[in-house]
Symmetry: C2
Subunit: 372 residues, 2 copies
């Protein structure tokens, strides 16, 4: 296939793509490329993942005389630099990219190990699952996901363009950033939240079970990601150690100032008065939370929350959403709150304000208990 000759519009990769590392992301990339009829070569030092990837139709075993147009390195962060540099030597004309979740250190070390700086363009697809390995891979895992592309100052435009093609053929959307910017960004929005969740959850180990039992949705939300894979995160935090330490330092400073302010009011007799600092921390939190884009990247908007009290029996959720569908109301978000120790639940439905009354009327007409 030559450029422009592909089936219809859309990007075309002229040649084969070698995916090194057939874990969750590597195999998903391979499956997505196979879906687009790209010739995909696979290699992995782990025979089990490779076998699963081959059997699931993610590509064929790389042969000695294959000359891939693009090499995608999808190995754990600690091994990525070596594998990238090695690929640079073996395939002297290929575009080199990776999917490692940390960029500056990995790319810098790949260059130090002799990788061709003109052909290297880093990448990081913002997708993942709570499972890992080739068995968890899906052709559509990257569909509609953002994929950060981190060219070096030395990356040639032709190779950058190849990586953009790769991203598009996987169904994802590219966002360009420098490697250092990427690492600061993920340290803030992903790696530090992981550390905070883990440290907070860790405090529950020695807590009285009765104390943990009265926890509400807040603690559940704040510790959900603490259940993540330890080895994978240990690796990520180690390789992005500097930027993560910087973000945590800032958070520690703020927490220490908060503790000081709290100790001051705790020592006060009678009315503890108020602490301007504590109020400032809370106010900044409200402001910062608003900076997170809402659904579909649009500005966050104020939704109306309609809470439904649900009987805990099969089919109740189905019945609920059938009513929602019949009322032609589009749900913006859903949250299920579990009531501990009791066989019932609360479902919070978030809708555009103008749709709220219609939804409430429809639900009440079908005997749902509604709080609005």
């Amino acid at each position: 296939m030559t450029p422009g000759e592909g089936a219809g519009a859309g990007p075309v990769i002229d040649g084969s793509v070698l995916v090194i590392g057939t874990g969750l992301i590597g195999t998903s990339v391979a499956l997505a490329l196979r879906r687009a009829d790209v010739d995909v070569l696979l290699s992995d030092v782990a025979p089990e993942n490779l076998r699963i990837a081959l059997e699931s139709g993610a590509g064929r075993l790389a042969a000695d005389d294959d000359e891939p147009a693009i090499v995608v390195v999808a190995v754990p962060p600690r091994h990525a630099a070596h594998v990238i540099a090695d690929a640079s030597r073996r395939f002297p004309r290929a575009t080199l990219t990776d999917v490692t979740s940390v960029k500056a250190r990995v790319l810098r070390e790949a260059l130090a190990l002799g990788c061709d700086p003109a052909r290297l363009v880093g990448g990081h697809p913002m997708a993942g699952r709570e499972v890992s390995g080739a068995a968890g891979a899906r052709a559509d895992l990257l569909d509609d996901r953002l994929w950060v592309v981190t060219p070096l100052d030395t990356s040639e435009v032709a190779h950058l363009r190849q990586v953009h093609r790769l991203v598009s053929m996987c169904g994802a959307y590219p966002v360009e950033m420098s490697p250092a910017d990427h690492d600061s960004a993920v340290a803030l929005v992903s790696h530090t939240p992981q550390v905070l969740a883990s440290v907070l959850a860790g405090r529950l180990i020695d807590a009285d079970p009765d104390h943990v039992r009265i926890a509400g949705q807040g603690l559940r939300d704040m510790t959900r990601i603490a259940a993540s894979n330890v080895d994978m995160w240990s690796d990520i935090l180690t390789v992005n150690a500097g930027p993560v330490a910087d973000v945590i330092d800032g958070i520690v400073a703020e927490l220490e100032a908060t503790v000081l302010a709290l100790r001051r009011v705790a020592g006060a007799a009678g009315d503890p008065g108020s602490s301007p600092l504590v109020a400032d921390v809370l106010t900044a939190g409200v402001e910062g939370q608003r900076r997170i884009p809402g659904k579909h990247g649009a500005a966050p908007s104020a939704y109306r929350e309609v809470t439904v009290v649900l009987a805990d029996k099969p089919g109740e959720l189905g019945r609920l959403f059938s009513v929602v569908g019949e009322a032609s109301v589009n749900l913006e978000d859903i949250r299920i709150e579990h009531v501990l120790g009791r066989p019932s639940g609360l479902v919070a439905l978030f809708v555009k304000p103008e749709a709220g009354d219609r939804l409430v009327a429809a639900l009440q007409g079908r005997d749902f208990g509604v709080r609005s």
Copy 2:
């Protein structure tokens, strides 16, 4: 009505209940009691809340000669002690309780202000909404919720029993704890998570919007409660300052140790090796997260996650849950992941492992894109 004369089984309150403070919780308590035909008296220094509460049928205006059997103080934490002590003087035989979210300091100060120690039994219903005020109140707000009851060493059993009756008549379930234990518990499971969410969200204010844009579900979960009411939380944190500062101190110490470990590997040349401490923090997080009871207070169980790719058009969620209902599959949990900048969404359905295959087959049979 005399004890035992009530309509059928269930608890009976012999006399009227005075609710002082007609905000969200006070008015909800009043509405729940009215639902059970209890004579409810209302009072509030804020005329607007009082008017709404009266108009919504939450009770009648307290008269000079009313002698309530129970007084429920539902005012902000900073004012609770004074109001409790004042009620003790005005109603020398009434059971005295409150719904303040901080207990030891409030009850201690009420006693110091002359409250009768035999009649005082603190309480804290574990319910809330993101709205406040009488207008947000619901008769069923406390249904199936836990309500922490904190008797003093000096509380007489008859008054403790009255508070248990109150809790039951509101549809909630009592959990007994000492005031100090309650405060340590909420410092850990509610107040400190609030501070962490606020501090983390506050770091987003000065971040590059492109950095925030690549955030996934983790950051959203970790900052959701940062949107809470500043005045209310400022008040809560101030009154429970000591226990909250203690919990944050422990978290700061762990974060500082983590930063040290990260700085050590960040400084290492070549392979950063691994940090046993970082792995320990992550492992403790996994372990601690498991301590949070799952749905219905049962031990957390491993659910199968089935992810559905959903077209963003009205009725798709309804169609999805209709299929779930037809397949007679009970959903244990739902999570909606928004894909930024793209008109589609992912819905993660959590079901018992044995129901997974049936659900997947039903969804695929109705043309839903499924990842499992």
